[in-house]
Symmetry: C2
Subunit: 212 residues, 2 copies
DNA sequence: CCAGGAACTTGACACTTGTCAAGGTTGAAT
DNA sequence: ATTCAACCTTGACAAGTGTCAAGTTCCTGG
């Protein structure tokens, strides 16, 4: 009976802890999301915890309550960013019924991303560069890179499938190609180059038929 | 005669000033080169002027004598870096007498660069990302990017020429492809992935015949 | 209702940062 | 030999940094 009571109490305790953990994690994500605002605005090098706090509804102390240090916070940001990014084109891929439909859907999303989420993406490129210096970032960054490669691969294989073909290059090469084009377009777009987006779209439109 | 004397004096003064300018610029380059050491080691975000000074033969004050501020110094670094980079493959391109020779020469240089100059290249990617946040960097970075694109294009056109063909893609796409592959390989290499370099070489070897 | 702990705020700390002014050193022209 | 400007060093300054400990508020279980 004592044992049973203990068992029940333990179960309750475990459940309570799980709940607390969940709440804790939800808060972490909230804070990470707030941090991403400032990081996207200023970049890694110029962003301090106090600046993050000032551009949010939180005080700078909370961040130390939920994160062991600055790197921990930013790692959490990077991981959170991933979840939002990696499925961006999946709807287009699954709904497109022809090559043209897929092409147009892809291009439209590409343009919209470049237009509306430039800040988040420049942060991604910033953090990926930071990973070359800071080992703590590497695991997460490499993982996200793999996910993005898979994302591109899903598009390419579907595109090939719709033409009864198979992609002519490896996943790595295709990702390198599109990532390189996007990165260059992003920089030009941020430098107020009006032709950045149309040039990217033209390039991709021309390229798609040649990769399969 | 007074006019002649003035003219001569002016010519002397102009020459003296030119000499002074040259010396001044030479010193700037010296300082920039010293700064590149530390920047390559720590990255833009973690590099301070004092750190740069401590890892060099100079005191931190000199840097303010020769540069108006930190951005000025780093811009000078970027510009100086460019000159060293952009001609890396030119010898291979001009001496190669066959496709195979060009391929092997290119791959060898690629591997050597990744192995020996990883620090300089991660700095380049860092600064290119910084340019997305810091307008002051954009002009130089975009210019260097163009030069690198031209460098890749020289390789591709020569490779095509040696097979009596023409490149199948645009300069922008080819640069995006190789830059993307290199960047990914660099990150993996820095993360101690032993397969980073061989994987890159395999990929490029497979890719080259398909781009022309 | 109240004790106690979780959640959060505040202010202080030790340190680093970019910048600059005041001074020293050097070398060449007079 | 003196002078003067170019060159460089030094030390100080204010502003900003990450971190943390002490205190406050709030909420929930008993």
């Amino acid at each position: 009976m004592a044992r049973q009571a203990t068992g029940a109490a333990q179960r309750v305790a475990v459940a309570a802890e799980a709940l607390r953990d969940e709440k804790f994690n939800a808060r972490r994500v909230e804070l990470a999301e707030a941090a991403l605002e400032t990081l996207g605005e200023l970049g890694f090098a110029r962003t301090s915890l106090r600046e993050i706090a000032q551009n949010s509804a939180f005080t700078h102390g909370v961040f130390h309550y939920y994160f062991s240090d600055k790197l921990d916070l930013i790692c959490c940001c990077v991981r959170h960013y991933k979840a939002k990014c990696v499925t961006r084109y999946d709807e287009v891929v699954t709904t497109a019924r022809s090559r043209d439909e897929l092409t147009e859907g892809f291009l439209a999303k590409l343009a919209a991303t470049l237009e509306n989420e430039a800040r988040m993406h420049r942060l991604w490129y910033d953090l990926r560069s930071q990973a070359m210096f800071e080992p703590a970032f590497r695991k997460d960054v490499l993982e996200i890179d793999k996910s993005l490669e898979a994302m591109i691969w899903r598009i390419a294989t579907r595109y090939a499938e719709l033409g009864n073909k198979r992609p002519a290059s490896s996943p790595a090469a295709l990702y390198a190609l599109f990532d390189g084009l996007f990165q260059s377009a992003l920089l030009r777009h941020l430098a107020n180059d009006e032709k950045a987006i149309p040039d990217l779209l033209d390039e991709v439109r021309r390229l798609l038929p040649t990769i399969c």
